[in-house]
């Protein structure tokens, strides 16, 4: 069965291209969200396997969204979706934030591909 994906990004052109790319690579894109609030609601509703999450969102910081999606209220890891962060910035701009957010990893936007996702999902 194909991996289900929720794409979270405030740029429509990126969402469209990423959807196209991931679908070509055999992923099942079940939804899109434009900001952090919508991302959390959609993840709750759609229960995707994977959330591809932009770091720079207009409302809530991507790291914070990742944290809420991956950790239960008591701080222990929950059974939520796998989160992979993405950004047009370089990963070195974010230091240890990626790791601390509970995300599986980070892919620069320009390097997004099914293979890169698969490598992080293990």
């Amino acid at each position: 069965m194909a991996v289900t994906v929720l794409i979270v990004d405030d740029h429509p052109s990126f969402r469209a291209t990423a959807r196209l790319l991931l679908e070509v690579e055999g992923y099942d894109v079940v939804g899109e969200a434009r900001d952090g609030t919508e991302a959390i609601a959609e993840a709750e509703r759609l229960r995707p396997d994977l959330v591809l999450l932009d770091v720079n969102l207009p409302d809530i910081d991507g790291f914070e969204v990742a944290s809420r999606l991956t950790k239960a209220a008591n701080g222990t890891p929950s059974s939520g979706p796998a989160v992979i962060l993405t950004s047009s910035r370089d990963p070195s701009d974010f230091g240890s934030l990626v790791h601390e957010s509970g995300a599986r990893g980070f892919i620069p936007k320009a390097e997004l591909s099914g293979a890169a996702l698969a490598a992080l999902l293990g």
């Binding site: 052109s13 990126f14 291209t17």
Partner: protein, 579 residues
């Protein structure tokens, strides 16, 4: 000249009246001590008359002189009471209390000659009403006050009614007492409010006057109580004090001159010794006896008041302001409490003496204001620069960078599809080309916002022409300076025009705009005029604020005239260095 003649005439009349009254007293049968009464008549009458005329002559606009002359005449007419002839006796009977009402007026009006407060006017009015109404009513009811057999005929007598006359006299006395006590209270209040310098000049007459009022009050009270001994005793004192009053005024007149001289001497040495920044203010506060005194300075580089630290200054409400000028130019102002303007001569003298020292302080205050402005402008410029860089980073991230990311993904995708599905790959590459063209456009626009290359290479004229051509509203470029301006000025001028034209396109609803740049007196004046709806608010919108900062950094001024319905003028005045 006419005043002089009038004064001489009044003086002569007063002398004649004194002589006449003295003669009438001398030949009167109804009194025993002729000499004492004649002495009292001329001593008090002529003292008030003479000093009153002197005061009138030296300060013609001050009512103190005429009031003193009035006391002299009223006193002498009152003494006609001693005459045994019907007409003089009647005049004296009516006039005898009036001198006291005028003395009350005199004391309350001292030293300006004006009754400063409503309370003072009320007290004086009460005094006059009391002596006029009271003494007329009394005169109509009493044959003669001392009940002398075969005394002079009272021409005003309507009916001899001793009981009613006593009642009228008591009423007259009680009302007089009220007026006198109120007057004394007002004098005490005046004393407490006066500055040190002013007290020096107020002292002689105020103390004599206050004592006189106290004695008069005790006398009247004794009169009501029927204690003749007390009344007689105090009456001697009050005659003495009444005689002293005009001389006390004379002393006050002289001592205020001396006091002023001493005050000014202190001020000059205070100014010379002033080392601390507050020294000049302190010396003036001391001289004027106003510890709350503050000094404000007028900036000559712009029409604005500042304090000694160069901070913008507004006089607090309720304070009086006296401007200080030097060589016909306002350099500062003394902000002082209200009472000081009662002595305008002292205030003026202090201000004039301190003007030189104040000019020096003014220059320092102006410099401090300037430094503070530069500091603020530098801080604004730095934060403006930071904000600008944040905006650029955001523009780059949201614009060109996103397009390039999408482009990269599309190329990846096309590469993956090129063998199985060449048609889709071609569509993807077309879309990628579109994405690339837009990214280039955005980068170009961004670079122009940072610094337009055409300005550096070709100068202001071609750069403004390029701006005009890009504007959706028709723009006419007016005359431009023939020579290049300093590059910082050209850049500021360019961005003023760029922002103004962007606003014309966005908000003005204009059909036409004109751009002019002129060199005037070492300044570049940049003007963008449109025929749109006007009503632009410079405080709204970051664009105009940023422009104002950019212009202020060059020591220039940005002005926006935008009456609703009448178009908008954006004018920047930019000082050019000598280049």
């Amino acid at each position: 000249m006419r005043t002089r003649l009038l004064l001489w005439g009044i003086g002569a009349a007063g002398v004649v009246l004194g002589v006449l009254v003295s003669v009438l007293i001398a030949v009167s049968d109804i009194i025993d001590d002729h000499a004492a009464n004649i002495m009292a008549t001329v001593l008090i009458g002529w003292s008030f008359l003479g000093i009153g005329l002197y005061a009138w002559g030296t300060r013609p606009s001050n009512r103190i002189g005429p009031l003193m002359v009035g006391v002299g005449f009223a006193w002498m007419l009152g003494m006609l009471q001693c005459s045994d002839l019907a007409l003089p006796f009647t005049i004296g009977l009516v006039m005898s209390p009036s001198a006291f009402a005028i003395v009350l007026h005199l004391l309350l009006a001292y030293p300006t000659g004006r009754l400063g407060s409503r309370a003072a006017r009320a007290v004086v009015a009460l005094g006059y009403a009391d002596v006029i109404v009271g003494s007329l009513v009394y005169a109509m009811l009493v044959r003669n006050p001392d009940g002398i057999e075969n005394g002079p005929r009272n021409l005003l007598l309507v009916e001899d009614a001793p009981g009613a006359a006593d009642a009228a006299l008591t009423a007259l006395t009680v009302v007089g007492l009220v007026a006198i006590v109120s007057g004394a209270l007002l004098l005490v209040a005046r004393w407490r409010a006066a500055s040190t310098a002013r007290r020096r000049s107020l002292a002689p007459l105020l103390w004599t006057g206050a004592l006189l009022l106290v004695f008069a009050a005790v006398m009247l009270a004794a009169d009501i109580a029927g204690s003749d001994d007390l009344e007689d005793g105090f009456s001697i004192f009050s005659v003495f004090l009444l005689t002293a009053a005009p001389y006390a005024y004379l002393a006050g007149l002289m001592s205020s001159g001396w006091a002023r001289g001493r005050t000014m001497g202190d001020l000059v040495s205070g100014l010379n010794a002033a080392e601390a920044r507050s020294g000049v203010r302190d010396a003036m506060a001391e001289a004027l006896g106003d510890p709350t005194l503050t000094v404000a300075f007028k900036r000559h580089d712009r029409d604005e008041w500042v304090d000694a630290d160069g901070r913008r200054f507004e006089p607090p409400p309720g304070r009086e302001v006296t401007e200080i000028a030097r060589d016909g130019q306002v350099i500062g102002a003394l902000v002082h409490r209200g009472g000081l303007s009662g002595d305008p001569e002292l205030l003026r003298a202090v201000a004039d003496t301190a003007a030189l020292a104040l000019e020096n302080e003014r220059l320092q205050a102006e410099l401090r204001a300037r430094v503070a402005e530069l500091r603020e402008s530098r801080a604004n410029l730095i934060s403006f620069g930071l904000a600008e860089r944040r905006r650029l980073e955001r523009d780059l991230h949201d614009g060109a960078q996103q397009r390039l990311v999408a482009l990269s993904l599309q190329v990846n995708l096309a590469r993956a599809k090129i063998d199985d599905d060449p048609a889709t790959a071609a569509t993807l590459l077309d879309s990628a080309r579109e994405e690339l063209a837009q990214a280039l456009d955005e980068l170009r626009e961004l670079a122009r916002g940072i610094h337009p290359a055409i300005l550096t290479d070709q100068g202001l004229g071609p750069a403004l022409t390029a701006l005009a051509e890009r504007s959706p509203v028709p723009v006419e470029i007016g005359p431009l300076p023939a020579q290049r301006l300093p590059s910082s000025v050209e850049a500021a001028a360019y961005f003023v025009v760029s922002e103004a034209l962007a606003n014309v396109a966005k908000y003005a609803d204009a059909t036409h705009a004109t751009v002019r740049v002129a060199r005037e007196d070492g300044h570049a004046v940049v003007e963008v005029v449109d025929d749109g709806v006007g009503g632009a608010d410079p405080s709204r919108g970051t664009g105009l604020r940023g422009l104002a900062e950019r212009v202020a950094a060059l020591d220039g001024r940005l002005e926006i005239v935008s009456p609703t319905g009448c178009g908008t003028i954006v004018r920047a005045d930019l000082p050019c260095a000598s280049s």
